[in-house]
């Protein structure tokens, strides 16, 4: 036992806990909350409305003249409070154990997948030495990824596909017809699109020859994003030819991700017009909110994965070019990245994810829902074949233009 404890690197442990707390509780969960707000505001402006713009601090209760509204930015807190204070009803006809298990099974995989996504390059804590703090750990930059697995995307898909259990169990345990239909639809849809999702990133992995997401991000930082090859090795003919399969796989990946997270136009499991609310019809209060949190968390993590694979992860847009022109270090150099650059990288990553989420929302309020047979046809007859052909195309290009 003693020897086991000796092997634990305390600095690493503390850093990991801080990273987990920072990324999942200070980044993803607030982002989940604020993407519901963004969803409502963006849907409102698309439909010529205003959206929630009033929820703020009710100073008038305390006798002041005006309320502070902050453009409604307190709305997610009010929503969360409402969800917590509502009656948590468990209907008599449900299977209690699975009924309670399902919301957890939706939200846990969505948050677990965040572990392998690099949300920044690395943070150099050298400057702490000026404040009189000393220690060996100061001079080891902290890698900004919770678990630096060498099987990143595989882990993500393995865990993310567990999310379907939550939905299926919710549909089945509710013991009611609409949730059941929603669960059935969801399971068939998620299983179908997982194939296209998995196959679509194989060309990307072939190009990198690596499954480690932080190495993938580093490569793109040094040599141009896959979709923006303007610096480093990105200027070779091979990389530009590879843009064709990459654009295809990006499109297939993005659309499959829409289907995977049950977002419009593929939100058939919860389509209001046919199935009341789909698999969460029988849920109320915080359990109901947890399905939404799971959906949005899956959306955020999916966006993070897409950003890491195709859009350079945490790297600065045109960072390589700007570095060449201005002479300021803007790209990642192992162990020698200044502290401010680490922060800028985190900001870049989050900015890209936010843009992706806004795109998600924009698409949701633009497109009508697919018919179920169209959805299946699209998944099995088009994306599956397209992704397979894409792998062969990439292999052919890589044969003549190896990277």
């Amino acid at each position: 036992m003693g020897s086991f404890l000796d092997n634990i690197n305390l600095a690493f442990l503390i850093a990991s806990v801080v990273k987990i707390v920072f990324f999942s509780f200070m980044v993803i969960l607030p982002m989940v909350a604020y993407s519901t707000y963004a969803e409502r505001r963006i849907s409102a402006i698309i439909q010529d409305r205003v959206g929630p713009n009033r929820t703020g601090i009710p100073l008038t209760i305390l006798g002041f003249k005006r309320d502070l509204s902050f453009a409604g930015l307190v709305q997610p807190m009010a929503d969360g409070l409402k969800a917590l204070l509502k009656e948590d009803l468990t209907p008599a006809h449900v299977n209690k154990f699975y009924y309670w298990l399902a919301p957890c099974l939706v939200i846990v995989p969505a948050l677990l997948t965040a572990a392998v996504i690099p949300f920044g390059s690395e943070l150099n804590l050298d400057w702490l030495a000026y404040f009189g703090i000393s220690g060996e750990w100061l001079h080891k930059p902290i890698k900004l990824v919770i678990a630096d697995l060498s099987v990143g995307p595989l882990y993500t898909f393995a865990i993310a596909s567990l999310g379907v259990y939550g939905i299926v169990i919710a549909g089945w345990a509710s013991n009611s017809k609409y949730p059941f239909l929603g669960g059935v639809r969801s399971s068939s849809q998620m299983i179908s699109y997982e194939i296209a999702l998995g196959l679509s990133i194989i060309p990307v992995l072939m190009i990198f020859g690596d499954l480690n997401l932080s190495k993938i991000a580093q490569y793109q930082d040094a040599n141009g994003w896959l979709l923006l090859p303007f610096w480093g090795e990105g200027l070779t003919l091979g990389r530009w030819l590879l843009l064709i399969p990459i654009v295809i796989s990006f499109v297939v990946f993005t659309i499959s991700m829409f289907a995977e997270t049950n977002r419009a136009p593929f939100d058939l499991p919860e389509c209001e017009t046919e199935l009341v609310a789909g698999y969460h019809t029988e849920y109320s209060s915080m359990k109901f909110a947890m399905f939404f949190m799971g959906e949005y968390a899956a959306m955020i993590v999916g966006s993070g994965l897409a950003v890491t694979l195709f859009l350079g992860g945490w790297s600065i847009p045109f960072g390589g070019l700007l570095e060449k022109w201005t002479g300021i270090t803007l790209t990642f150099h192992a162990g020698a990245t200044p502290f401010w650059l680490g922060l800028v990288h985190i900001g870049c990553f989050l900015g890209k994810v936010v843009v992706f989420i806004i795109f998600f929302i924009w698409v949701r309020w633009t497109l009508p829902r697919f018919r179920y047979d169209q959805l299946m046809k699209l998944g099995w007859l088009i994306f599956f074949e397209l992704a397979l052909a894409n792998i062969i195309l990439t292999a052919a290009i890589l044969m003549w233009f190896p990277i």
């Binding site: 402006i45 698309i46 010529d48 409305r49 924009w362 309020w365 633009t366 497109l367």
Partner: protein, 177 residues
């Protein structure tokens, strides 16, 4: 029966695969979003701060109220027709004899109690239509609120306060006659 063959448009390949329709749709929604963000188009009125009051039509039916005439006499003679016609039975009237020493003794009756329950009132305007004395009118007040049920019952004082004075129209109880 005549058969009408619906002409379906022949779609090009990019239309069949949702490529151009998708882009068109995205452009339309983005156009709406930008128009709202740049405040080129304004649809919603921020209610408590901005009100539509100036644009209320002449025939707007708001809270019903009692009126007095130009001599300060209450026009209502307690005939109770409005009480009988009121579909949600929101009106309650208890008539009262006008004492003989009163200036308006020849009118004979006036309401002792005139309550309109604003929780029940549906603003249909039938009381106004049925009133032979033109004593009850629907005003333009629409934000009737209260913290209790009792507060939502408008009594005589409140009704005269909302109604105010109306001149003209009915002259038959005037002393001059």
């Amino acid at each position: 029966m005549a058969t009408i063959i619906v002409q379906r448009p022949t779609l090009k390949w990019h239309e069949r695969w949702f490529i151009t329709p998708f882009l068109k749709g995205m452009r339309i929604t983005l156009g709406h979003a930008i128009a709202i963000l740049l405040r080129k188009k304004k649809v919603t009125m921020q209610y408590p701060e901005e009100k539509w009051d100036a644009n209320l039509p002449e025939h707007y039916r708001g809270a019903p109220a009692l009126v007095t005439d130009e001599h300060g006499r209450e026009r209502c003679v307690s005939c109770q027709l409005c009480e009988f016609i009121c579909p949600p039975r929101a009106i309650k009237i208890i008539p009262e004899e006008i004492p003989s020493e009163d200036k308006w003794a020849k009118v004979e009756k006036r309401p002792k109690l005139f309550n309109i329950d604003m929780i029940r009132c549906i603003y249909c305007g039938m009381c106004e239509e049925v009133c032979p004395e033109q004593a009850i009118f629907l005003r333009k007040d629409y934000a009737i609120t209260g913290l209790s049920r009792a507060e939502m019952v408008h009594d005589k004082t409140k009704l005269y306060e909302i109604g105010g004075v109306r001149t003209g129209l009915v002259n038959k109880w005037n002393e001059l006659k």
